[in-house]
């Protein structure tokens, strides 16, 4: 069982309201839940990436994973330093949040 919350801020228009995205694997199909856990594992295992101090108007993304035992892990990345795995996770969260 795992939940994820995506918070987004910054960008060219950083003040436009960007609602948080919530995904709970209990709401997903068995296949999607497996994909979700796989993406989460890949992202959580990645070393932290320093922000690019020269980037301007880049967005920041923070994903917080929570498990039923109360443990939580937070991963933050920005547009200018995003890994492909993190981008895949963002797309997954947005897509499945809409369906939820």
């Amino acid at each position: 069982m795992m939940k994820a919350t995506l918070a987004t801020w910054g960008g060219l228009a950083p003040l436009l309201a960007t609602p948080a995205v919530h995904v709970d694997d209990a709401d997903l199909s068995k296949e999607d839940a497996a994909t979700f856990r796989s993406l989460a594992t890949q992202v959580k295992d990645q070393p932290a990436r320093p922000a690019n101090p020269r980037a301007r108007d880049a967005r920041s993304y923070e994903v917080t994973f929570e498990t039923p035992d109360g443990a939580s892990t937070t991963v933050e990345q920005t547009d200018a330093t995003m890994t492909p795995e993190f981008a895949d996770l963002l797309q997954f969260l947005r897509r499945h949040h809409r369906r939820a």
Binding site: G11, N52, P53, A87, Q91
Partner: protein, 381 residues
């Protein structure tokens, strides 16, 4: 006031046609500065004709919805044909318009002043609702189709992002609090000037909006920001309300953190943005002329920690240098900052008073000379 130059202008003009690139550029720079200081604008055509066309070469890459720029495909180059992809062509044209604006209007050779290549990446990620400058190149998203459309559709956004590069290579304004808000404002000012120049719009004709072309028709809002009326660009449920102030009385204190927009750099930029708008509309005509030149010279004269007050003082000093002390331009610069709640500290009333006193003295001496002459004539009679 006539300007003295050790090399006669006709010789500089000859050098500006030289086959030597470095000689040509040096002569052009000297000519430009000389004519600019004397208020002459006809140098523009000569500058355009003589600047090497191989500077600021453009390349546009297609990310194919990925986020790894090194995996993007080169899709259009300076010498290649048009693409069948409109996003690619719009990015290419936007880079070109911005490069040409800086070259033709401000005599700047690309972003770094030294012909830096201009690279843009389109179709970044999926549903990506942003465009950004990563310190070396521009990245465009396609938008999500619900709030934003393709970010290559906005020329002022392209000008905005590339101007972040210009700022980095000049004042390098730190991205926090007031210097950060000035950094954002420079991008809005020159971004909007690129659009106005490309469309040949005067200050009166322009809409003074940033990002008007990237909001979907379904979104009730004009744009991301309004330089004419900060705080009015949008107001609806989906986006919230535009929080930009247009006056120091509305200055917003936010934490100097990423979530706090580094002290509200995108919020408080509304204040210098509006000062520029006030100057441009009070002077009238093309805003890229006197207002743009005053702002550009002030940007170059600023440093990493320059705040609003210091920048305002610099614009006043530069207006005096470019157009003369007590000129209409200088007075309107002071008025513009006054309009956003910033009193220009550089207003040199002593100098103005001295000039007035001298003028009065000259008048009195002339009168006395005339009186003496008439007395002499009467005595002879």
């Amino acid at each position: 006031m006539p300007l003295c130059c050790i090399v006669p202008p006709h010789m500089l003009e000859r050098l500006a046609q030289s086959d030597s690139k470095s000689r040509r550029q040096k002569a052009l720079n000297t000519l430009f500065n000389t004519y600019r200081l004397s208020g002459e604008r006809t140098i523009r055509a000569l500058t355009f004709a003589s600047t090497s066309p191989d500077t600021g070469r453009r390349s546009v890459y297609d990310c194919r919805h990925g986020v790894t720029l090194s995996r993007a495909i080169l899709t259009r180059t300076e010498d290649g044909p048009q693409s069948t992809d409109e996003s690619v062509n719009r990015a290419f044209d936007g880079l070109g318009a911005t490069r040409d604006f800086y070259r033709q209007v401000l005599n700047r050779n690309s972003i770094d002043g030294n012909g830096l290549r201009l690279n843009a990446y389109v179709h970044y990620d999926r549903d990506f609702q942003n465009a950004y400058w990563d310190g070396e190149q521009m990245v465009f998203g396609d938008g999500d189709g619900e709030i934003f459309v393709d970010f290559t559709k906005s020329l002022d956004v392209i000008g905005h992002e590339l101007t972040h590069g210009v700022t980095e290579f000049t004042a390098n304004l730190t991205y926090h609090n007031q210097p950060g808000a000035l950094n954002e404002s420079m991008s809005d000012v020159f971004g909007v000037l690129v659009k106005q120049w490309a469309n040949q719009q005067t200050a009166e004709q322009a809409d003074w909006l940033i990002g008007a072309d990237i909001l979907t028709p379904g979104i009730a809002g004009d744009a991301l920001r309004s330089m004419k009326a900060p705080g009015t660009a949008y107001d609806n449920e989906a986006l919230g309300r535009d929080p930009q102030p247009g006056h120091m009385s509305g200055y917003v204190q936010l934490p100097d953190t990423s979530r706090g927009d580094w002290g509200g750099v995108h919020i408080n930029s509304g204040i210098p943005n509006h000062a520029f708008y006030l100057l441009a509309t009070s002077l009238g005509g093309p805003a890229w002329e006197a207002p743009g030149h005053i702002w550009y010279e002030s940007l170059k004269a600023s440093s990493a920690d320059t705040n609003f007050q210091q920048f305002a003082d610099t614009t006043y000093a530069k207006a005096g240098l470019l157009y003369g002390a007590s000129s209409k331009q200088q007075k309107l610069v002071s008025d513009a900052w006054d309009g956003v709640g910033i009193k220009v500290a550089g207003v040199n009333t002593t100098a103005v008073e001295t000039e007035n006193t001298l003028r009065e003295l000259v008048k009195q001496v002339s009168q006395l000379t005339a009186d003496i002459a008439s007395l002499k004539a009467a005595g002879k009679g």
